[in-house]
Symmetry: C2
Subunit: 313 residues, 2 copies
């Protein structure tokens, strides 16, 4: 089977390829991205801007993928506030370019349209864990772009007959994630603290609760959805449990075995409408038997070791 992977240089792609190449020994991959992967990558790669319709159509037409895993995105909520137009172009528009390339050619390609838990927006704590039929109420330009992508996915599946499986993916954690995200940033501070005495850990709002899922579980979910998901349907990809950042810090502190105290860095405290976000994975489990297998502590340990070894550039 041939897999076209957009956003191949990102950390989810790395783990998806790991999983898919062991689950499907016949798999071949073509990765697209603005820059080549910095992780070890032994497959075909093309440097393509997905906004460049002609280049994208050329790649899709030549490779004729069985599957497209659409991981490319402008995924920073914070940057979407600064550059809403760019967020829209690099989420909704690139998705449209991709599905139009398939529709134009009448390819039977199955597409995984990756969305975000951000689509839910502000939620009532009584509605947790969030199920897929919960109302969407996007509150950032990024989230609006993701909702549009999801609605277009359904329309392309239902009305144009394309084969598209849709996700709403919750917070990922794992090896290779950029330290602009909270968890790798916290782990990195512990790893880099080589002095005697107490680490002054820079933190944001440690009371917020999120549903963190190991990226290897994410990769497996995406693979199973490609094989067994229902076209036009949306699936939460989540761990089903909430952890506060304070919990996460305690776990990392335990792994590191270093003294620390938390110091609030106001630049890390973002205005936030949701104290807690937790999803339900009942729907994907009912369809594919997927469920999360890797606990948060195990994820944190993997990240810690990887940063300690400097394995990740």
């Amino acid at each position: 089977m041939k897999y076209l992977i957009t956003g191949v240089s990102g950390f989810v792609a790395r783990h998806f390829i790991d999983y898919a190449s062991s689950a499907d020994p016949e798999a071949s991959f073509l990765g697209l991205d603005l820059k080549p992967p910095r992780y070890r990558y032994d497959h075909a790669f093309s440097e393509v801007k997905l906004l460049d319709i002609a280049a994208l159509e050329r790649e899709v037409g030549a490779f004729k993928p069985d599957y497209i895993v659409h991981l490319a995105s402008f995924s920073s909520v914070a940057r979407s506030w600064e550059r809403p137009r760019e967020s829209f172009a690099n989420n909704t528009s690139i998705f449209l370019n991709l599905v139009e390339a398939i529709r134009d050619r009448g390819l039977p390609t199955r597409v995984l349209s990756v969305g975000s838990s951000e689509e839910y927006g502000v939620v009532d704590p009584d509605h947790l864990p969030l199920r897929e039929d919960h109302r969407l109420n996007p509150i950032s330009p990024y989230a609006v772009a993701r909702v549009a992508q999801e609605q277009l996915s359904r329309i392309y599946a239902r009305s144009y007959g394309l084969d598209i499986v849709i996700t709403r993916s919750f917070n990922h954690v794992g090896v290779g994630q950029e330290p602009v995200f909270a968890i790798p940033s916290l782990v990195k501070q512990f790893v880099e603290w080589k002095m005697p005495g107490t680490l002054e850990l820079q933190v944001g709002d440690t009371a917020i609760v999120r549903d963190f899922l190991d990226v290897r579980d994410v990769a497996r979910a995406y693979y199973l959805l490609l094989k067994e998901g229902e076209s036009g349907e949306v699936y939460n990809v989540c761990g089903g449990a909430g952890h506060s950042i304070a919990d996460v810090i305690r776990m990392i502190g335990g792994i590191a075995g270093k003294d620390y105290r938390e110091v609030v860095d106001p630049t890390r405290v973002r205005p936030n409408d949701n104290r807690a976000i937790i999803g339900s994975f009942d729907k994907i489990k009912a369809r594919t038997a997927w469920q999360p297998e890797i606990g948060l502590e195990e994820s944190l340990l993997a990240i810690y070791r990887s940063l300690e070894e400097g394995a990740h550039p």
Copy 2:
């Protein structure tokens, strides 16, 4: 007060300017469109593509409007199926360009963000008349673009502090509407039938029920929403009553006084998920005291006379 009107060459703009210039004798207008209006228009005009960010920003920056009435759109659902990318660019992207131009300059401009009843998508007949808190379920690329525009409008109002009033506008009827739409097409057939004998009226699905509102009532609603609407809020602009196309045909037949029989033209029968769409105007009425004043028969008579006189080019 200074009014910037996008899509000024369309028929809603024509009626809005009529209404606003009599309600507000100090009003000055700058109209933007791809082509100059073909109706009589005595105000400033600039030929601008709203996708041209620099040109749009120049116009907004120079005119410094008190109000923007954003009527420009790629409003054909049918064409959005053929060209989904174009529909997105000419709805969501041009709206983003407009609000970014205001945000960049910190202008206190109030914007009327015009949306569509298409945003509701497939609705359960038990939920009629539709209220603004009804779930949105867009089922065409056009409708997705309109939902994105609405969600962005809320975010720009709530989080960037822009002053934006939002509508979901239902079917319009009135003088100057292009005969690609059902009602002017039906009236035109009656007007142009000069032969003795029976008109073979080409019809589509005559059982569908829509909430038709006279464009003069629409214009007054838009004006009142600019003056009194609440920023960040969405208002249905609708008549609150349903008429079947069969009813409409009977009314036109009565006005024309000509014999006719209906002949179904399969190209006019569009697959349609909604037999009936009717909105509630309680919310706009509660805020602005607006309610529809012109009945459908009166609208049809005005269209009939206008086409008979050839007043509309």
